[in-house]
């Protein structure tokens, strides 16, 4: 057993342990520990990824002295490593970019709690990515939920607490359904490890006993996870939660937390139930319809929104709709497109949040479009970042968004169910144009110059890169990441494909 195979275990335990240790550290050390741990996890995941691409396939890691059906296990393949890598990069960048705002918005005595929460969030995300055991997945889903709630309401004004309550209610409903589904799955199969469950599920479907309860169970689990990841009818909590929490939290929530649940859903589809059974059931069609609704609804309500951060949040409702639409296509290509969209959206949306906060800072912290006029000149780097993000969202070539849109469209056109082709392509077109409307409106708005006298009278302060080197660096890294995803998408798509093959 090569030493690199310890990486998943190490990265989970390491991030957890750092969270535990941070509880007794003062905030400065906690901050450094947190940064170091995230960087380390990223580096290790990169190492693991290179190793797995070299040898191919995937491996399981026994958590304890007892082999498969008895003890816990974690499992790592190329896709998991890629996810861990990108997630840790994005988490690091979001934290760095929002650090200054964190100082302003959260009282200093609670900073180390903030870092505990981020450490545990990272560990739970890693566990969701790597785990091979359904019940472990449930426990870490709960950790994920609680820490996300903490991240929302650590900046304490009424809005965030109310948003946290709404978020908790929704995600508790989701995890209730998920837990019930897991218990029923256990009841039907007698196992909790994914691979064993899959075997017996195949057996059950083959011999036809328990077919009805199996389908209902799959439905329960799917609905639970899609509630937790804010699919269209269940998104009421999202705009407030993302729009008013402190910016790093917003970036991490929108780009990582919901994506973690979606990735777990993919794992369940492939490794627990078996994708063929899923495709034969109608669940994917339901997801498809809701995804399309989300794409339209999110974009439309983003257009009416007058507050830049709420607008970005609504746009992420639409993006989650894209992902589920990709599931709904029910083909391998659609799944690949969705996974790529997960990465793309994670990268772009966090960049949008971070640069939006830069723009609002130079407009006396007001997030309304009227005040944002000309902020692109007051804070050049944030303006550039926001522009790049918007272009990527609109799907201009050379940026990440274009690739994922093309993947979706190719998947849709190559789909063998012709009834799905036209809805997909038409809704893609409509929602892309809607994206263009609200994002480019914002971009033009921030580049319309404001009368200098008015600026002086408003007392807008100008952004000096020398003052905030870290922020500028973060935005540049985000742009680089986006361009990498956009230009060199080929190897990444390749990794995703082989990863999905390893899954099933």
């Amino acid at each position: 057993m090569a030493f690199v195979q310890n990486v998943p275990f190490f990265s989970i335990i390491l991030s957890m342990f750092s969270g535990i240790v941070s509880s007794v550290l003062p905030e400065k050390q906690a901050k450094w520990l947190n940064t170091a741990v995230i960087t380390l996890v990223g580096a290790m995941s990169a190492w693991l990824l290179s190793y797995l691409l070299e040898v191919g396939g995937s491996f399981t890691f026994m958590m304890g002295h007892f082999p498969a059906p008895w003890g816990n296990e974690i499992r790592a393949g190329a896709l998991e490593a890629l996810m861990a890598l990108i997630f840790s990069i994005i988490m690091l960048l979001s934290l760095l970019g929002g650090r200054k705002k964190l100082k302003d918005e959260v009282e200093i005595t609670k900073h180390n709690i903030y870092y505990i929460l981020t450490d545990l969030l990272l560990s739970s995300l890693l566990a969701l990515i790597y785990t091979n055991d359904l019940f472990t997945a449930y426990v870490f889903v709960e950790i994920n939920t609680i820490s996300a709630c903490g991240l929302i309401m650590i900046r304490q004004n009424g809005r965030t607490i109310e948003a946290a309550v709404r978020y908790m209610i929704m995600s508790l409903l989701g995890s209730g359904l998920l837990l019930m589904g897991i218990c029923m799955l256990y009841d039907l199969t007698g196992h909790l490890l994914m691979s064993n469950i899959k075997e017996s599920v195949q057996q059950i479907m083959a011999e036809g006993s328990y077919r009805v309860p199996m389908l209902i169970t799959i439905g329960l689990i799917t609905v639970g996870l899609s509630i937790k990841s804010a699919l269209f009818p269940f998104h009421a909590w999202l705009p407030d939660a993302y729009g008013y929490s402190t910016v790093s939290s917003a970036a991490m929530l929108s780009s990582l937390v919901s994506k973690g649940y979606i990735f777990l859903l993919i794992k369940i589809f492939y490794r627990v139930i078996g994708i063929d059974i899923i495709r034969n059931s109608n669940i994917l069609n339901v997801l498809f319809v809701f995804g399309l609704c989300a794409m339209i609804f999110g974009s439309v309500s983003a257009i009416w929104e007058n507050d830049i951060r709420r607008m970005i949040s609504f746009s992420s409702v639409a993006q989650i709709g894209y992902i589920y639409m990709g599931f709904g296509l029910g083909t391998e290509a659609g799944m690949v497109a969705s996974v790529f969209h997960i990465l793309m959206h994670a990268a772009t949306k966090s960049m949008l949040f971070i640069s939006a906060i830069g723009l609002t800072d130079v407009s006396n912290g007001s997030r309304h479009f009227a005040e944002l006029t000309g902020s692109g000149y007051r804070n050049k780097i944030a303006g550039i970042g926001f522009t790049v993000g918007s272009l990527s969202m609109v799907g201009i070539p050379c940026f990440a968004g274009f690739v994922s849109k093309i993947l979706f469209a190719q998947a849709a056109v190559a789909n063998n169910a012709p009834v799905k082709i036209f809805p997909t392509v038409i809704v893609l077109a409509i929602s892309t144009i809607l994206n263009a409307v609200y994002f480019l409106k914002t971009v033009i708005r921030i580049y319309v110059p404001e009368d200098p006298a008015f600026e002086k009278q408003q007392g807008y302060l100008f952004f000096q890169i020398s003052r905030q080197k870290l922020y500028g660096l973060t935005i540049i890294c985000f742009i680089a990441l986006n361009l990498v995803l956009g230009m060199m998408s080929q190897p990444i798509v390749h990794i995703i494909e082989i990863g999905l093959q390893n899954f099933s």
């Binding site: 057993m1 310890n6 275990f9 335990i13 957890m16 342990f17 969270g19 535990i20 240790v21 509880s23 007794v24 890691f61 026994m62 958590m63 304890g64 002295h65 007892f66 059906p69 008895w70 003890g71 816990n72 009282e107 005595t109 609670k110 709690i113 505990i116 929460l117 545990l120 560990s123 566990a127 055991d133 019940f135 472990t136 426990v139 870490f140 709960e142 950790i143 609680i146 820490s147 709630c149 903490g150 309401m153 650590i154 304490q156 607490i161 019930m180 029923m184 256990y186 009841d187 039907l188 199969t189 007698g190 196992h191 017996s200 328990y210 009805v212 309860p213 209902i216 169970t217």
Partner: protein
């Protein structure tokens, strides 16, 4: 000042109440009369909120209510509410029916041929004692076979405490508000010295603690374990706090204690488990003696882990209570 006087005469009244013979008191209770001066045994809580504030809140509340639910002013909202109610009931019914259908297809309860009782359960039951050294198979399972879940679980407790800390800990510097406000708030949080409560607490708390410790230590031999025992000890702490107030309990339990105890136990838990995971994954011998089955000192790591979990849970329970009560320790 007059608060103290009230307390004094209330104590006097209670003493002369005690002077009266018990028989008389029972007889009066049978007659259905209430004790004299019973109304003095009221908690501070009602006295502290003065009427004006309450009145303001009430009016404001009513205004908001009609503002929130004025059906006649925005009919759409009214329609939405009604639709919402109906939809709610329908969803609930639909969910229940689906689940009933589901359950009616599930394997029958209590039959020994369910898929649930397969080689996994068999292995746990048959080799559990040899593998883990724990007589209590469930404890052996959650702390050795499936220890990763349990570790995550204690982290759930930990992070929940962190979030409650965020919400309820008031980081006000004591110097900020004036001394009498300070005294007032303390009197608000402190219960009145209730003789009955204190006497009973004096008797009960040691027993509760001992019982809790027993449950923790026998976690691998009998029903119970870290979580239940920790909950018991936490209940004891809470009882003590209610009886004697914060000053007394802060002599031996402060936030710092909480922090370090939970940190220490979680750290030990984390390190021990990572050691056993690592050795397990690499098929090494984790040279930890399992000891003789049935003895207290047995079953390898399970006993210390139980103790750690117990400490964490006890501290957490107490911390929850203290935070809700006062916003600090």
């Amino acid at each position: 000042m007059e608060k103290i006087r009230e307390e004094k005469d209330m104590n006097e009244s209670r003493q002369e109440e005690n002077k009266k013979p018990t028989v008389y008191r029972i007889w009066r209770a049978l007659k259905g009369q209430s004790e004299e001066k019973a109304e003095e045994l009221t908690l501070e809580r009602e006295q502290i909120l003065d009427e004006k504030v309450l009145e303001k809140h009430r009016l404001d509340h009513e205004k908001m209510l009609e503002k929130t639910y004025d059906i006649e002013h925005n009919p759409i909202y009214g329609f939405f509410r009604r639709f919402y109610k109906v939809a709610g009931v329908l969803c609930c019914l639909a969910l229940i029916i689906i689940l009933l259908v589901q359950v009616s297809y599930l394997p029958p309860v209590g039959s020994s041929s369910n898929p649930g009782s397969n080689e996994v359960a068999a292995k746990y039951i048959e080799d559990g004692l040899q593998d883990t050294g724990a007589v209590n198979i469930v404890t052996g399972m959650i702390l050795d076979y499936r220890a990763f879940d349990t570790f995550g679980e204690s982290n759930v407790l930990f992070i929940a405490t962190c979030t409650v800390l965020i919400l309820l800990r008031n980081d006000k510097k004591k110097g900020k508000d004036s001394a009498e406000a300070e005294e007032r708030r303390d009197s608000y949080y402190e219960p009145k010295n209730d003789v009955i409560l204190q006497t009973i607490t004096k008797v009960l708390v040691p027993i509760i603690f001992i019982f809790g410790i027993y449950v923790i230590l026998n976690g691998h031999l009998s029903p119970g374990g870290g979580f239940s025992g920790g909950a018991i000890i936490g209940a004891g702490l809470i009882l003590y706090l209610n009886a004697f107030g914060f000053q007394k309990i802060e002599r031996f339990f402060t936030e710092k204690t909480y922090k370090w105890v939970s940190f220490g136990s979680l750290t030990f838990y984390c390190l021990a488990k990572s050691y056993s995971f690592y050795t397990g994954a690499h098929h090494l011998e984790s040279g930890i003696p399992l000891g003789k089955a049935g003895a207290i000192i047995s079953s390898g790591l399970i006993l210390p882990l139980n103790i750690c979990v117990g400490l964490v849970v006890a501290c957490t329970m107490y911390a929850f209570f203290a935070l809700f009560r006062k916003g600090g320790f």
